[in-house]
C-alpha cells in the first residue's frame, strides 16, 4: 500500500500529465466576505467539473499568512497555485517560492507585482474606481460635493480604487471631496461614518464607496436621516444588486468573481498541462444599473 502511494506521489510531481489526479491550491486574501467566497465557490465547482483536486486557503488579510500557505502548498506537493493576494507587492514572494519549486502560479482578481507570474485572470481595480467616480460625475453634471468611504488603508484594492477615483477627480475640479475615511469594508462602520458626516455637512451630493457593503451602510444612514443622497459601490454583491433594483444604490461596479474563479482554474490546468497561456486574461468590470440589473441577478444565481 505504502509503496503504491509513493509511486502515485512521484507520478504526481514528476509527470503531471499522467493519470494521477492533479492537485492545486488556492489562497485567497480572505474567505470572510461574499465576493471572495463567490470566487472560491466558482473555482471549486470548476475544479470538480475538470476532475482535479482543489484546496482552498484563507489568507486572513495577512500577506505573511499567504506566504506561509504557499510554503505549505509546496511542501504538500501541489501541482499549481492560484493566488488572490492581499497585497500586490507583499505577496510577490509567494510567486517566487512557487517558481523556485517549478510550480505555476495564476493570479486572480488582484495582480501581484511579479514577472514570474504564469498568468493573470482578473481586472485592474483602478478601472473600478474610475468607473464609479465617472458615474457620479455624470450624475452630478461635473459639479458638487462628495464624500468617499475607503477600504482598509493600504490594501491593494483600496489603493487602486482610490487611485482610479482620483484620476477622474483630477479632471473635474468642481467636484469637491468634503471628507474621506476608511470603514474597513464594513457595512456598520460605513453607516456610522455617514451618520457623522450627515451631522457635520448639509451639502453632500453623493457618496462614493470603495465597495458595496460600505455604500449600503451609508445608504442606511441617509435613509434614516430622511434624506436622499445617491451612493455607489463596487463588487455587485447580492444585496447591492437588490439595492440597485430598488433604486437604493445608483449603481454598482460588478466584478465577475465567479467568472474569475472558474477561468483561473482553467488557465492553471492548461499551464500545468504545458500548454501556452496568455499573460493576462482580462475580465472587465461592468456597471450594474437599473436597466441591466435583472441580467446580473440571473448571472449571480
Amino acid at each position: 500500500g505504502a509503496a503504491d502511494k509513493d509511486a502515485k506521489k512521484e507520478s504526481n510531481t514528476e509527470d503531471t500529465q499522467t493519470e494521477g489526479k492533479v492537485k492545486i491550491g488556492m489562497t485567497l486574501y480572505s474567505l470572510k466576505n461574499e465576493f471572495t467566497v463567490r470566487l472560491a465557490n466558482a473555482a471549486e465547482a470548476k475544479a470538480e467539473e475538470l476532475g482535479i483536486e482543489l484546496v482552498v486557503y484563507d489568507g486572513n488579510y495577512d500577506p505573511s499568512t499567504q506566504i506561509s500557505q504557499v510554503e505549505t502548498m509546496i511542501s504538500d506537493g501541489c501541482d499549481g497555485i492560484i493566488l488572490n493576494p492581499q497585497d500586490a507587492e507583499a505577496c510577490a514572494p509567494c510567486v517566487d517560492k512557487a517558481a523556485d519549486a517549478g510550480i505555476p502560479v495564476v493570479g486572480v482578481n488582484t495582480r501581484v507585482k511579479s514577472d514570474k507570474l504564469t498568468s493573470y485572470v482578473g481586472s485592474i481595480d483602478v478601472t473600478a474606481g474610475e468607473m464609479e467616480m465617472q458615474k457620479i460625475v455624470d450624475l452630478l453634471d461635473g459639479k458638487g460635493n462628495i464624500v468617499i468611504i475607503e477600504g482598509p488603508m493600504g490594501q491593494s484594492a483600496q489603493i487602486e480604487r482610490r487611485e482610479g477615483i482620483q484620476n477622474i477627480l483630477d479632471k473635474y475640479p468642481d467636484i469637491k471631496v468634503l471628507a474621506e475615511k476608511t470603514a474597513n469594508w464594513s457595512r456598520s462602520e460605513g453607516m456610522t461614518v455617514m451618520e457623522n458626516w450627515l451631522q457635520a455637512f448639509d451639502n453632500i451630493d453623493a457618496v462614493v464607496g470603495e465597495n458595496d457593503e460600505m455604500a449600503l451602510g451609508a445608504r442606511e444612514a441617509i435613509k434614516a436621516a430622511g434624506k436622499d443622497i445617491p451612493a455607489i459601490g463596487v463588487d455587485g454583491i447580492t444585496d447591492a444588486l437588490n439595492a440597485v433594483e430598488e433604486d437604493n444604490l445608483v449603481a454598482s461596479i460588478f466584478q465577475d468573481g465567479a467568472g474569475q474563479g472558474s477561468k483561473a482554474v482553467e488557465v492553471l490546468l492548461d499551464a500545468i498541462n504545458g500548454e501556452t497561456v496568455e499573460e493576462n486574461y482580462w475580465i472587465d468590470f461592468e456597471e450594474v444599473n437599473k436597466d441591466n440589473v435583472e441580467e446580473f441577478k440571473q448571472r449571480a444565481q
Partner: protein, 320 residues
Amino acid sequence: MEKDKEQKIGVKTFIAKYGVIVGLVIIMVFFTVMKAKFLTVENMLNMLRQTSINGLLAIGMTFVVLTGGIDLSVGSIVGASGMFAALVARTEVGMPWYLALLVGLLVGLLLGAVNGVIISYLRVPAFIATLGMLSIARGITFMASDAKPVPGLSKGFLSIGGGSVGFFPIPILILIFVLIICYITLYKTRYGRYVFATGGNPTSARVSGINVKLITCSVYMISGLLSGLAGVILTSRVTSGLAQSGNGYEVDAIAAAVIGGNSLSGGRGRLWGTIIGFLIMGVMNNGLDMMAVSSYWQLVIKGIIIIGAVMLDSLNEIKE
C-alpha cells in the same frame, strides 16, 4: 485661609476621583469649539445611538472585569447572535420581531454560559477561554450564513435598531434601561455585592459562604446576554445579518471599562466610570468624523485621547 485650603483640596480630590469626567468634558468642549454643530441635540442623539452597542458590551464587560476576568468573545457573540436573529427575522420566515430578539438573546446567553462554565468550573483562564470562544463563535457564524449577508428582515425587527419612541431612538432607550437594571443589580442587590467580593478576594468570598464559581460563571452569562442584545440591535440597524459584524468590538468594550477606572485585576470598579468610558469613545469617534480628520490622524489622535483621558485619573496617584 482655612476655607481656601479646603476648597483647593476639594478641587484636587474632585479631579482625583472624577478625572475621567473632567477628561470627557475637556474633549466635548474642544469639539464644540471646533465644530459648532457638534453640540446639538440631534448630533448628541446620533452619537448616543452609535455608542449604544459599545455601551451594552462595556456594561457587560464591567461585570466580568469586576470579578477579575476578561471577555474577548463579545464581538463574536455579537456576530453570532445577530446572525441567528437575522435568520429568524427574515420576512419569508414570518416570525414576529420579539421571537427573533429572543433567539438573539438566547444565543448570547448560551455562548456566555459556555464561557462561564469553562472558566469557573474547568478553570481555564478567562483570556484563553474567551479567546477560544471568539474564534469558535465566529466560525459558527460563518457556517450559518456561508459568509453571505442575510437581508430582507421584517419591518418589526428593523425598528429595534432603527425606530424611535418620540424623539428618542430605541437603541438609546434600551441602553438606558439596561444601565438602570445593571446599576440596581450591582449596587442594590446581594448579587452585586457578591460580584465585588468575588473579584476582590475569591477566597474570602468563599469563606463567607458565597458560591464563587456560580458568581464567576454568571458574569459571563450577563456579558453574553448583553452581547446578544447588542448583536440584535446592530443587525437591525444595518438591516441585514452580517457574518463579520462585531469583529474587534471587544477591544472597544474593554477599553471603555478600563478608561472608566475599572481595574482589570478585579474587585475595584464603578459602573458610572464605564458610562464615561464609552461616552469618551463615542464622542471621540463622532467628533473626529465631524471634523473630517483624515484616517491616519484619527488613529493618532484617538490614541492620544485614550491615554490622556486616563492620565487625568492617575495624576493624583503620582503625587503621592
